[in-house]
Amino acid sequence: VKLIPPERVEAIIFAALNNVNDELPEDQRIVVTDATVLFGVDAEIDSLALVSIVVDVESALDREFGLDIALADEDAMDRPVPPFANVQTLKEYILERAEQP
């Protein structure tokens, strides 16, 4: 079981979103908040950007906390609320997965 500060998880997700923003023109940049929609209806990013976020977040969790989780696996699909609905749901999903033995 890994104890990870929620604010650190949020910072990791924000950093991944900012990496996406770095490659977008100024008028297309995403507003980064905990309500930013990541995928599905109303999302502001495409699946290339989503993969970029998945890779950056997974890498940071492994690097900083030794947490090796696949964010887009079957466990993610079995949840009642999609983990990638927005930043908040992704943060909650990561914290829940981190608490699993």
Partner: protein, 195 residues
């Protein structure tokens, strides 16, 4: 092999009638890290008509038949059973937001290559500045196989080309589960149980 149909997207053959829209995409921001293509409608139409039989060039459409990009399998070699994934471009950026169009388009291309054409290997190159594409291809199973140093002049400077490739078993074991995961995640309604 002409048409490949998925849940969110479909691939249909590139035609001369697509010259205007594909030229617009090729001249747009999303194509700045691709090789320089045609600069006029006439050149683009000529280029499309001149595609050889060793290439399968597709328009990526949404499930509502809206063209949003292009993708090709070129240099298909039935002796060595390999082909190059190339010219991957999403031209209609707003139309593909929130949808796994890119992921499913690549999945359809791999099914075409490995299942229908019987290839053993798909390969490609990515410009070193194209960080997002490189990250994307690696996540979806492509292995980095090499680097062609200062091989192309793109975006005002000479860049390395990163050589990537995927073998058929890697597609089944690495790429396909991740592709299916991303496609399934996109199909989940927000805040509601998945059907």
């Amino acid at each position: 092999v002409d048409h490949q149909v998925g849940k969110f997207t479909q691939l249909r053959p590139l035609q001369a009638d697509d010259a205007a829209i594909t030229l617009r995409w090729r001249l747009g921001r999303a194509a700045t890290l691709l090789n320089r293509g045609a600069q006029s409608l006439e050149e683009q139409e000529t280029w499309i008509r001149a595609r050889p039989a060793s290439e399968l060039n597709f328009i990526i459409e949404t499930s509502a038949n809206t063209p949003v990009g292009m993708l090709s399998l070129i240099d298909v070699d039935h002796v060595h059973r390999r082909g190059e994934a190339a010219r991957f471009l999403l031209g209609e950026e707003t139309a593909v937001r929130g949808l796994p169009i890119a992921v499913e388009a690549m999945k359809l291309l791999y099914f075409l290559a490995f299942d229908q054409l019987g290839l053993r290997r798909v390969y490609g190159t990515v410009a070193e500045d194209n960080h997002r594409m490189l990250k994307w291809q690696r996540y979806l199973g492509m292995q980095v196989e090499g680097r062609l140093r200062k091989h192309v002049l793109l975006n005002g400077h000479f860049q390395d080309l990163i050589a990537v490739g995927i073998l058929e078993p890697e597609f089944r074991e690495i790429a396909l589960p991740r592709m299916n995961g991303l496609i399934a995640l996109a199909g989940m309604p927000p805040g509601k149980p998945r059907e």
